[in-house]
Structures are given as C-alpha cells and as structure tokens.
C-alpha cells in the first residue's frame, strides 16, 4: 500500500503504517489521522509527540501501560481515567491509531 500527498508517494505496509519512519512530517500525520477519521487537536498532538520522543530515545514504541501512566501523571488523573481519555482521543486504541499517526512501526503483541 502507499499514501499520496502533494504529489509524493509514501510507502506503507498493508495496515497503513509508514515503512520509512523518516518520511514522517506534521502534514503527513494529519493525513494519516484523516484516514482514521481523527481530527488532530492539541491533545492528539501531545500524545503523538510523546510517542515520537519516546521512540527516539528507546527505538521502540512504549507499552500502553507506560503511555497511560505518563498521561495520568501529566494531567494529574487516575490510571483508569487516563485510559478513558486515551480511548476518547483514539477510539480504536492508542497502540493502533496513535502509533500509526506518529509514524511508528506497527506495535506487536496479541491485542
């Protein structure tokens, strides 16, 4: 599969995840979000940016647990509330949708 934007073509895997992580840009993120029916707000960007920073540091997407705890800490809310908050932003799950928009590789695992 591939994604076209402004005349350029970006390669993705069969589930729509970017193949070349260096292709990623803010504009492309907005485009990827559109495919997921997500309108990027500041709250969405906060999570996408966190994922990208984490990925740069560790070369792996954070476990959902790590993401949830980070959000709980940042917003001073309970873990369960943070989970609801995340799923409100990314209804099909932060692992699936937020990682895709952030241009990270597809998370593995049996979820």
């Amino acid at each position: 599969m591939s994604l076209e934007m402004n005349g350029s073509t970006y390669e993705t895997d069969e589930n729509g995840y970017l193949i070349n992580l260096s292709d990623w840009s803010d504009d492309l993120a907005i485009k990827l979000a559109e495919y997921e029916n997500i309108n990027m707000s500041d709250k969405h960007w906060e999570i996408v940016n966190f994922l990208r920073e984490y990925y740069e540091d560790y070369q792996i997407a954070p476990a959902v647990k790590v993401l949830t705890k980070e959000i709980a800490k940042k917003n001073n809310i309970h873990r369960k509330e943070a989970s609801t908050y995340l799923y409100d932003l990314f209804p099909k799950g932060p692992a699936l949708q937020a990682c895709k928009i952030a241009g990270l590789p597809k998370p593995t695992g049996c979820v």
Binding site: K65, Y87, G93, P94, K106, C110
Partner: protein, 420 residues
C-alpha cells in the same frame, strides 16, 4: 513452495484453481484434503468432521479456504497465520487477529480473526441468547464456534475485519461483550457454584459478576504488565482450575467442622458396606484425619486439608461446614518463561456473603493489582513478581498481615485422585 497435493490425481487439484472451477470439477463444495481426512480416522471425535459439516451446510468460502490452508500447512509443515491489530470502537482487546501469509495461494482464508466473547458466570446461558449469538455469527462470520476455549471465552472463529464492527454492535445489543486479550484483565471463569452444586461455599456467580464489572475497563483496554486472571471455584474441588491457572484463585472453604449427618452415614454404610468406608474413605484421607469411634465417623477437623475426597464420596452424609467463605491464593500461572506455579495462600479465610464482603475483596485486589502494575516488569505475571521480591515484601506492600496459615507449599501432594 507450490501448493500441491501429495496423492490423488494431480490434474484434479491444481494449486491456482478458483472456487468456481473446483465446484465444477468434482461437483462438491470442498476441495480434496487428504491429509486432513486422516484426522477423521480413529475413535475420537474430529474437528475436521465438524468443519466439513459446517462448510458444506453454509457454503462459506472462508471455511473452505481455512481447510485448504491447513492442508497446505500439513504438507509443508509450516503455520501460515500472522497476527495484527483489529479492534472495535473503544476497545483495545477482544479480537484475536489472524491474517494469512499465503493469501495469494489461498485467497478465501486471507483473514480469519477470532472474537473472544465473555462467558457468563458459571457458563450458564438461555438457549434463546445462544441462538441469537449463533445467528449473528453466521450472518457476519464463519459460524465456527468453540465453546468454551481455554480462556473461558466463547471463541467465535473466522471473521473479516470489515465485518467486525457491525457484528460486535449486534452482539453487544443482544447483551454479549468481548473478552480480555493481551496484557490486561482476562475473562473471568467461575464454576457453576450454588446454582447446581451442594459443595459450593460461596456465591461464585455473584462474585465473578461483581469483580469483572469492577474491572471492565481493564478487560477491554489492556494496560497491565501482562495478563491477569481471576477464577472462582466454589470449593477446593476447584472445577474452574483456578489454583494452577489463575493469578487470583478464589476458592470456597469453611472454618468450622465438616457436617456429619449420622443417619446418612448409616445409610451409606448399609448400602456400600463397612469395608468400603474403611478402604475408600478413611484410609484415603491424606492427613489421616478420619477415624472410627464406636462405629461412628469422627473427623479431626484441625487436620483437614480440604482435599474434598470424603465429601465427594459421601455427598449426602458429609457436607462442608456452616461457617463458609473463601480462601484467596495469589500468583498461580501455567507454563511460559518459567514453569507452572501454584497460587500462594494469601488470605486463608474471608467471609463472602454481604456487599461489604465483596467490596472488601475488591479493595484488596485493587491494592494487589496496583502494586503489581507499578512494580512488575514487562511480561511478568504476578507470581513471578511475588517470587522476585519475596513474600514478606509483597505482604507489606499490599497491607496484609502475615499468618502461619499462609501456605507456600501444600504439605502433601495435592494431586490426590481416587476412583469415585
């Protein structure tokens, strides 16, 4: 590797044939599957017979594809399913994804995802509800059902991603919900409990329901270190296999004496004989806690280890005590990374009758899960975390006072089995 059959006329079974050709060729819906057919030999029921029957009845190409792919797997000695991520709105778990790695060869089974649907407490259903579930499943999925899978869920196997949301919406409307998967709280399992069993020492159905409802978001949105399972057994016969399979095993027990109905004891002896009582009940007590005194049965209740043997053999004469409740064992798990672990007795006795009892239980489990979630490593089950930090630290952290009744190892082989 080419998709070739090993026997039969090779001209009949070309690898690249499509569905219409195959129907024309042999007039049958299914393609030949000689290796799968072997599985129908022998005295045992075969899943292949079931698959064939379902495929021929429903004529769903997906089922034919799955059989073709399995046949191909047997020929090439390789599995060709890979995972992925498929979810429904608001859920992070509940659908087990299976994409085919040989979809160019066998396009009919390019997707074959599984719905994990939560079982009811005690696995009791009305036929009306089951029919409704089957109808929805045959409409959107393959119609193939495993009831129940190892996880305790109803496994609905075989659906394409595009059908998942609508299928889920209809099921949810009919009162069903998806089960747990991944690193989250898993679908609970309970024995039938007081609904049908005289041994049950607490309401397994009620506690299962309340606990799972309390943790519903952790079932659908897996965010723990690893999986966490609750299982509820009404007595230590442990029909839900809790002790060696679940992180939190809730086992019914009693803290007074086994009730002896003297009249029924006499009736039992009259029917089965004194030899039987001595040879099959008294001498089989693992802690030698039963004796005869002047022809009457006497039980040293302090030494009873709840093996349940005498109660099972003499269900009318003997029954659990009147002061009933639960034991909580934490840290059990099946093999993976390290071997099977039995749960460690953390709460030897707790009443489980009122709402307050249930709330107290959930509060304790909140402490346990929060602590484990904060301190466990990635992919570390509760039992492994407990072992790593030591029981003393664990008890301090979850706020439970140590007691001599907390047993790490049972004092005798727990696998006592007799012919009933």
């Amino acid at each position: 590797m080419d998709f070739e059959y090993t026997d039969g006329n090779p001209d009949d079974h070309k690898s690249d044939k499509n569905e219409s050709e195959s129907v024309e060729e042999n007039g049958k819906f299914l393609n030949p599957t000689p290796m799968l057919d072997e599985l129908e030999e022998g005295p045992w029921p075969s899943f292949i017979s079931g698959l064939k029957e379902l495929a021929e009845r429903t004529e769903k190409p997906m089922l034919r594809g799955v059989m073709d792919q399995l046949e191909y797997s047997y020929q090439t000695k390789m599995g060709y399913w890979k995972g992925g991520l498929v979810t429904v709105h608001g859920y992070g778990a509940g659908i087990i994804t299976r994409y085919s790695m040989v979809k160019d060869k066998i396009p009919e089974a390019s997707e074959f995802h599984t719905f994990r649907v939560q079982s009811s407490a005690g696995m009791v259903y009305s036929t009306k509800d089951l029919r409704k579930l089957c109808d929805i499943w045959e409409e959107h999925g393959s119609g193939l059902i495993a009831l129940h899978g190892q996880t305790g869920d109803i496994m609905l196997q075989g659906i394409e991603e595009k059908e998942t949301q609508e299928c889920f919406d209809k099921m949810n409307e009919a009162g069903w919900d998806l089960g747990g998967a991944g690193a989250g709280l898993r679908t609970g399992i309970s024995c039938v409990g007081p609904a049908r069993c005289e041994m049950s020492c607490f309401d397994t159905l009620e506690l299962h329901d309340r606990v799972l409802k309390n943790y519903v978001s952790d079932v659908h949105r897996p965010e723990f270190n690893y999986k966490f399972k609750f299982k509820f057994s009404g007595c230590s016969n442990d029909c839900s296999n809790a002790i060696f399979r679940s992180d939190a095993a809730v086992i019914g027990t009693w803290r007074d004496s086994i009730q002896i109905d003297k009249k029924e004891v006499k009736a039992w002896i009259d029917a089965k004989g004194m030899d039987n009582l001595v040879n099959n009940v008294i001498t089989r007590c693992p802690t030698n806690a039963i004796t005869l005194k002047d022809g009457e049965l006497e039980i040293d209740n302090k030494n009873c280890v709840r093996c349940m043997h005498c109660l099972n053999v003499m269900p009318k004469a003997l029954s659990p005590g009147k002061d009933r409740g639960i034991s909580l064992l934490l840290g059990g798990k099946n093999v993976l990374k390290v071997g099977t672990m039995g749960g460690t007795m953390i709460v030897p006795f707790m009443k489980m009758e009122t709402d307050e009892d249930i709330e107290e239980f959930i509060e304790l489990m909140d402490n346990v899960i929060e602590w484990w979630d904060d301190n466990g490593f990635d992919h570390e089950r509760l039992g492994e975390t407990m072992e790593r930090v030591g029981l003393k630290t664990f008890l301090d952290e979850i706020g439970v006072e140590p007691s001599v009744d907390m047993v790490e190892h049972p004092r005798q082989n727990p696998y006592f089995r007799a012919k009933y």
